[in-house]
């Protein structure tokens, strides 16, 4: 099974945005709203779709509470699944509860997320403080999140492992001119525990037949620490449109470094409609203990053939249309926003070969794997 996909999905969760999503309006509580999303990911043999509903309501002038329900319905037949297991279907549900407290020019946020599926349970508690200063031109946010997960394995009731995680976040948003602003973000994440995929395997050359290969379980280090720094800049053009540039550098103790660059453009057609487009490029090096094909069984302490740990590059082209209606005549609704967003993603692996490719190949001679995917999001936000 593609458990790593799922573990990563779980670990990443949606709480990070919940943590940072408010600081755009620091010193003002988030507006009461209902945010409904339908999301669909299709590509590389995977279809993942489902709804998300978030409801936010203020209680008095200083407190705002929110609750979110999110579902991933997974139908998996990815290259990893096809190589060593059978296609499967499953569902992951996530609940998040949060509370924000406004005090003078700061906002304190506290929240909890639980995500569960048949073989993975993830919990995250987060806390952040956002402070506006320098006449509202600067906003500093500090966040901390602590996660504890339980990893199980379908078909083996006695299998149960734990993974813990801590996130430390620091963000600065700075107005530069009346038409431009920048954001700086730093995040350190540490993991400890069972960090590998209990289903995925790696391969090594069959000692009795060099034209064949055998599989063995993955074996990852039990700790990982990563650091990311990102800079973002937004510029308001001479007409109603904006240009956005982003760069992120990533490095971790598994020997992976990554660069992400993104350029976006948003164009206001009229007071109701805006169109947007963006291009994103991602590149990473491989983990120290990664190999597409190990020379023999247990040839090193840590063994991985998870394609996400291979060196790879990814490109995204995105288009979107947004309809916005301020001061609506709808009863009880102050503002409505509907967005349709479509992203095309392409991933090319430099050192992960497709063992399911048709044809006769010697181990290590199979074609390199690549795939593309479409991500569709339909979002409706109602402010009341």
């Amino acid at each position: 099974m593609a458990a790593t996909d799922r573990q990563r999905l779980v670990r990443s969760g949606l709480f990070l945005l919940a943590l940072f999503g408010h600081q755009a309006i620091a010193a003002t509580l988030p507006v009461d709203n209902v945010d409904v999303l339908y999301h669909r990911y299709e590509g590389g043999g995977m279809v993942i779709d489902g709804p998300s509903v978030l409801v936010r309501k203020s209680i008095g002038p200083q407190v705002s509470v929110s609750g979110q329900y999110y579902v991933d319905s997974v139908s998996a037949a990815s290259v990893d699944v096809l190589a060593t297991a059978s296609p499967y279907k499953e569902e992951r549900k996530e609940y998040t509860f949060g509370i924000d407290y406004l005090h003078d020019k700061s906002i304190l946020s506290l929240g909890f997320t639980n995500s569960s599926e048949n073989d993975y349970e993830a919990n995250t508690l987060y806390f952040s403080v956002s402070q506006e200063f320098f006449g509202g031109m600067s906003t500093l946010t500090m966040g901390y999140a602590s996660g504890w997960d339980e990893v199980r394995r379908v078909g083996n009731d006695s299998f149960s492992e734990e993974a813990d995680r801590r996130n430390y976040q620091l963000g600065l948003s700075q107005i530069i001119t009346r038409n431009s602003l920048i954001g700086l973000d730093l995040e350190v994440v540490t993991d400890e525990g069972f960090l590998q995929n209990p289903y995925r395997q790696n391969r090594y050359i069959d000692p009795n037949d060099s034209t064949a290969f055998l599989y063995q379980p993955e074996r990852y280090p039990e700790t990982r620490t990563s650091t990311s720094v990102a800079v973002r800049a937004l510029y308001y053009l001479p007409y109603r449109a904006s240009l956005r540039g982003e760069y992120r550098y990533f490095s971790d103790t598994w020997g992976i470094t990554a660069h992400t660059a993104e350029l976006g453009y948003v164009h206001g057609l009229n007071p109701h409609w805006t169109l947007e487009a963006s291009v994103r490029y991602y590149r990473q090096s491989e983990a120290d203990f990664y190999s597409d094909l190990f020379p023999f069984e247990n040839s090193q302490t840590h063994l991985a053939r998870d394609k996400e740990l291979s060196s790879l590059s990814g490109t995204t082209l995105a288009l979107g249309a947004v309809y916005e209606w301020k001061q609506t005549s709808l009863p009880g609704i102050d503002r409505l926003q509907f967005s349709l967003l479509v992203d095309w993603l392409n991933f090319e692996y430099d050192n992960f070969r497709d063992v399911t490719a048709a044809g006769d190949f010697l181990p290590g001679d199979e074609p390199l794997y690549s795939f593309d995917a479409y991500v569709t999001r339909a979002s409706l936000i109602l402010e009341y």
Binding site: L17, Q68, S226
Partner: protein, 78 residues
Amino acid sequence: MRSVSIFTVSALLVATVAVSGCSSVKPWVKPYERDNLADPVMSLSRHGTADSYMHHVYQARESARGAEGGSGGGCGCN
């Protein structure tokens, strides 16, 4: 010893400049000059949950994680 004293003097100089700089520099973009910054086209997290979903997608496919932001955007004046 000499290098320590040079370091100390440099640090004091930097600190002095920083402190005096802070006291003399005033916020130069006034709240009433922030209407462009308050326009939704200048938001980094305009789509709410839909934005966080994309971070989720990337974290599942890529090793890099963190510093996805959402910082910036808006102007603190609404």
